[in-house]
């Protein structure tokens, strides 16, 4: 029988939640890396035992952790495959993980500054890894979206990282500026059909696409309107919170922006708003049903600055028409006095026949629905604030 493994990153460690295909009884393990912020944990689609975790701290910086046994044990990458991850005297053999911005001549335009909140230019400075995206074809290849915004890639299982500098170097970098959460690259989508195509999103710069494996990039923000920037229709500067894609329809993209839910039917070349009858078109997460490419999910949040659900009711909204017409999904979710947030990487979809939907809150709950959102129940209620949720569907 199939199983699911939910990977939750929180402000104070990682947790792994496992259940069989019924998704009723859950086994919880963790905290892994207690006391550290775990921005993201994600498994390789080709080797589900291979997990990568972004372990970060304002005190001690960035660490990449890797598991080769589905999260039972972890180590810092640096050990050749098949060798023990510890020395004979029990010491870890791993090395630290250096994220150094590319300043080589090959980038063509070494880029040293981006825009700061006050409009001045500020040097790029590495802070943390927000998102890890393992390759669709090789468990040792993994992409990292970082703050200050840039894209890195490792091809040796997370030990060494090199920047794909064409993204920062394509020309608009000096116009990028941080959102409230920082200047972060938080979304990485590898196209399942066009192997050289990839999408990324940055707060606050917008969405970008490469069609040549990451060498060159172009902004794909036509149709986005943001009243909080001087030119609401500018090429860059939009605070995109999340993009989602269905593998069967890779040219269709769905976006939750700082305000507005949008879709593109041409791989991001143009976007149109599909917020429709949502109670708030602000939010962070957006995701697509595993088997229905026009069924999408968002969690409306009140803004600016409140960042909690409207009316104190935690509601997932589902559209079965690719946007515009939305239904509130409330069964099992708190419908009074609820003031949590759902952050941008904190929703995931499993691929069981009856599609499961998962999300985590800043109040420490991870909710699961085993019936595509019709009903919900908490897997756990009292974790630290949840930063990210991923799910693996296991044979």
């Amino acid at each position: 029988m199939s199983r699911v493994r939910v990977l939750a990153g929180t402000r104070k460690g990682a947790f792994i939640l496992e259940a069989d295909g019924k998704r009723e009884k859950w086994k919880v393990s963790g905290p892994h890396f207690p006391g550290w912020e775990i921005y993201h944990v994600k498994g390789s689609p080709v080797d589900p035992d291979r997990l990568y975790a972004s372990q970060t701290s304002s005190w001690f910086g960035q660490v990449i952790q890797r598991s080769d046994d589905g999260g039972k044990t972890w180590h810092q990458p640096g050990t050749p495959r098949g060798e023990s991850t510890k020395t004979p005297d029990g010491m870890p053999k791993g090395e630290s993980n250096k994220f150094a911005y590319d300043s080589s001549a090959e980038t063509g335009k070494p880029l040293t500054t981006h825009q700061w909140y006050d409009g001045s230019q500020k040097p790029w400075e590495f802070k943390r890894v927000w998102h890890l995206e393992p390759s669709l074809s090789d468990p040792d290849t993994v992409y990292a979206g970082v703050e200050d915004a840039a894209l890195f890639r490792s091809t040796d299982g997370g030990q060494n990282w090199a920047e794909l500098a064409g993204l920062r170097g394509h020309g608009t970098g000096p116009q990028w500026q941080p959102g409230a959460g920082g200047l972060c690259l938080h979304t990485i989508i590898q196209d399942p059909v066009a192997s050289e195509r990839m999408f990324v999103a940055i707060s606050s710069a917008g969405a970008f696409r490469t069609d040549d494996g990451g060498k060159t990039w172009k902004p794909i923000n036509r149709g986005l309107t943001s009243q909080y920037i001087p030119d609401p229709n500018a090429e860059v500067g939009h605070c995109v919170h999340r993009i989602a894609q269905h593998r069967a329809r890779p040219k269709v993209l769905f976006m939750q922006k700082h305000w507005d839910v949008l879709r593109s039917d041409d791989a991001g070349d143009s976007w149109r708003e599909v917020s429709g009858d949502l109670p708030s078109d602000f939010g962070f997460v957006i995701d697509v049903h595993a088997h229905e490419p026009e069924t999408i999910y968002v969690v409306p949040i009140k803004s600016d600055s409140e960042h909690f659900p409207p009316d104190g009711k935690l509601r997932v909204y589902r559209s079965r028409t690719g946007g515009n017409e939305w239904e509130a999904l409330t069964k099992g979710l708190p419908q009074s006095d609820c003031y949590v947030n759902v952050l941008r990487d904190a929703m995931a979809i499993d691929s069981l026949d009856e599609c499961g939907v998962y999300f985590g809150t800043t109040g420490g709950q991870v909710y699961a629905s085993a019936d595509a959102g019709d009903t919900w129940s908490p897997i756990v209620r009292d974790l630290p604030p949840v930063l990210s949720v991923e799910v693996q569907t296991l044979a």
Partner: protein
């Protein structure tokens, strides 16, 4: 041998308990001690000082002999008690935030 006391999270990362000792060739300074520490425990690179600039991370402090040495030059000699192994260099995670 130079004695170094690490904060708890870095002990976990390095797989060590309590105090560690490192051999430091030449003059004993913050830089030479950290170079030796990172050579012995490569997983600590980037956690105490920046990977690239080698500047001390803002929330990390260096204490020894009841003095805060955090703002001393990284190339200044450490106190004789540290270089003689009588006292440890303390690497401290600042008490701040949650």
């Amino acid at each position: 041998m130079i004695r170094v006391v690490l904060p708890q999270h870095l002990r976990t990362l390095a797989g060590v308990g309590g105090e560690v000792t490192v051999e430091v060739p030449g003059e004993v300074t913050q830089r030479s001690v950290l170079d030796a520490l990172e050579a012995r425990y490569p997983m600590l690179r980037g956690t105490i000082r920046d990977h690239v600039t080698k500047v001390r991370r803002p929330f990390v402090r260096f204490f020894a002999c009841e003095q805060d040495l955090s703002h001393e030059s990284p190339d200044a000699p450490l106190p004789r008690e540290v270089s003689s192994g009588q006292e440890p260099l303390l690497v401290i995670g600042a008490i701040a935030g949650g």
